[in-house]
Symmetry: C2
């Protein structure tokens, strides 16, 4: 049996790349892909900080692009050799929740990484391949090859569609960002910067980025941020309110997940406005009475149904209209995944791409 390298976490701070059997088809709806690029997510750092020691380890990674090696008999939309992007969940793309655009709640789907199939690996078995993978093609229908037709930049942007950019895009979509609006993005991590780019795509008039790492907020400005507020807490709230005539922001995109970020969002949102969250909440309860109710604040967002947006975003990337892959600032070999986690944890890297 063929073997491969794959990444596991055995407890907080304990990431290992191990050699395990390569996967093969199980269900007729499966595909097996050979990884071209994978990466580490900000949300991978949550278990990196808090995971209890485990004997068997958790397979890691939920973002991948690859080349189709083999498809099951029931797979109709993909052929061996196709360059494909996966969403960070798998889903049938046909059930009632998928049809309503909430693929993360698919009746037959699930999540990659954690307890399931890890995508920081050389090969991946992708369940429900027709519903999960999108083949990358140029506008004329011709194939894009695994070198991105020679463009590392194109590969990075395609990979970003697996989660990070489309998570930012989901925040903006759920927040109903559009022309005439002021949007405040909380968090200068890769998702926050993606939310800036998405807000510009959706036509926001003004985009205020709250973040204090200059190298990141500089990229945020290139992505479309019109203002940067480095201050946090009450001071940051005051500054955003000053920038908005005292009244706050129509939409706030919360891309962190910690409770102070939520409280900051509640502080800068305008009456009648919307807080859209995509940072995985590291809190259970939060204040939702009082001024939120009084002022008709809507709280929305959640786990991004990437598949909803994946085809149109792939076309935009291939056409060169957007370049969301700029959030990748470091690339490492897959075998150095432990160093990749450590670099992101120390904030030496914004987002690390893993190359098999």
């Amino acid at each position: 049996m063929e073997t491969m390298k794959a990444t596991f976490m055995y407890g907080a701070g304990d990431v290992r790349v191990e050699t395990i059997p390569a996967p093969s088809l199980i269900e007729a709806t499966d595909a097996v892909i050979r990884t071209v690029r994978s990466c580490v997510c900000g949300s991978d750092l949550h278990p990196y900080h808090s995971m209890e020691v485990s004997e068997q380890g958790s397979p890691m990674g939920h973002e991948v692009m690859g080349v189709v090696e083999e498809v099951g008999a029931a797979v109709t939309s993909l052929r061996p050799g196709d360059l494909v992007i996966s969403s960070f969940t798998y889903q049938d793309n046909t059930c009632e929740f998928c049809r309503e655009g909430f693929h993360v709640s698919c009746l037959h789907g699930g999540f990659f990484g954690g307890q399931g199939i890890g995508l920081q690996a050389e090969f991946v078995r992708v369940p429900l391949a027709d519903g999960t993978l999108v083949a990358v093609r140029a506008a004329d229908g011709s194939a894009v090859d695994e070198t991105g037709n020679g463009s590392e930049e194109l590969l990075a942007s395609l990979l970003s569609l697996s989660d990070v950019y489309l998570t930012g895009y989901h925040a903006a979509t759920m927040g109903q960002v559009g022309p005439g609006q002021t949007v405040t993005v909380i968090g200068d991590g890769a998702v926050g910067l993606s939310a800036v780019l998405a807000s510009r795509q959706l036509g926001a008039d003004r985009i205020i980025l709250m973040g204090r790492h200059a190298s990141r907020t500089d990229l945020g400005r290139e992505f479309g941020a019109t203002d940067v507020v480095a201050e946090r807490g009450e001071e940051g709230i005051e500054l955003v309110r000053d920038l908005t005539g005292g009244h706050g922001s129509h939409v706030v995109l919360e891309a962190v997940g910690h409770r102070p970020a939520y409280e900051q969002a509640a502080g800068v949102v305008r009456a009648g406005g919307t807080i859209s969250r995509v940072g995985v909440p590291q809190y259970r309860e939060a204040p939702i009475g009082g001024s939120l109710f009084l002022n008709n604040i809507t709280l929305t967002g959640g786990t991004a149904p990437v598949r909803r947006y994946l085809e149109s975003a792939t076309a935009q990337v291939v056409a060169g209209e957007i370049n969301p892959g700029r959030v990748f600032d470091v690339a490492m070999p897959l075998t150095q995944a432990p160093a990749a986690y450590a670099a992101m944890d120390r904030r030496e890297a914004l987002k690390v791409m893993l190359v098999p």
Copy 2:
């Protein structure tokens, strides 16, 4: 100086009708109206349960219709003799928040009742009268008189627009209720029943009413509820999920305000769905992480900007298209306001109208 009767609360359970000076114009934008009908709100029962003893008392009441007695020099839309309905807030109806439809956040407005002007009184000074009052006219522009042109039913329905019906309507509007949707309404009080009627107006396919008072849920069925679930807590949640193929309700309208009602809402909402709250929250914090985030549940609603809907709803009522005043099951003289509060507190009355 002329005097009038007005209602005050001096502590939990202590409501008194007193004789005080009648109001007169102060600002050029004021009107003074003579009350035709007022009423007691479910939210008046919150201080009735918990208010600390006060020497000076709180003026009570925030729902009224009346006849214009006098208008300030700057008032342009109203004439003495007009039958008018007030929203439970006053506002200029011109500031940026009013223009965005969130009149309760008006830059120059405020709330009736509590610390302000009480509307359970014989006369009322209405600030910002052009922005606050709507004159009742028939479709041909002719006036409707203070007997409702002889219809007590019409008067009741017009009065319900001051708060209760349009609060239910706001819940449904913020929840984006529409055709193709299943709506669950939590609470069989007057606001919950109004939310049922509003959901039917907005075209919901199916309306599940959660409430356990048969006389109230019977009216709910007449207002458009297709199903009634009397059970609460986990049992009630199970039943609603059973009624919806296991998946829950697209929209949940929470018309209670206590935390168990919020938890029930979270239990019956469908993935990708919306909880819209109009019951004034009697809790500060609540769970918003976990499954709400995972399943992209939107939490919306808040204090109803009644003025946004007041003109079109008045036209509907006058045309006989809706009859939301059926939530009034008891009428009493204003001087019996203490008995009105007690009857609603003991649930002997759904909603009591006060007649000067």
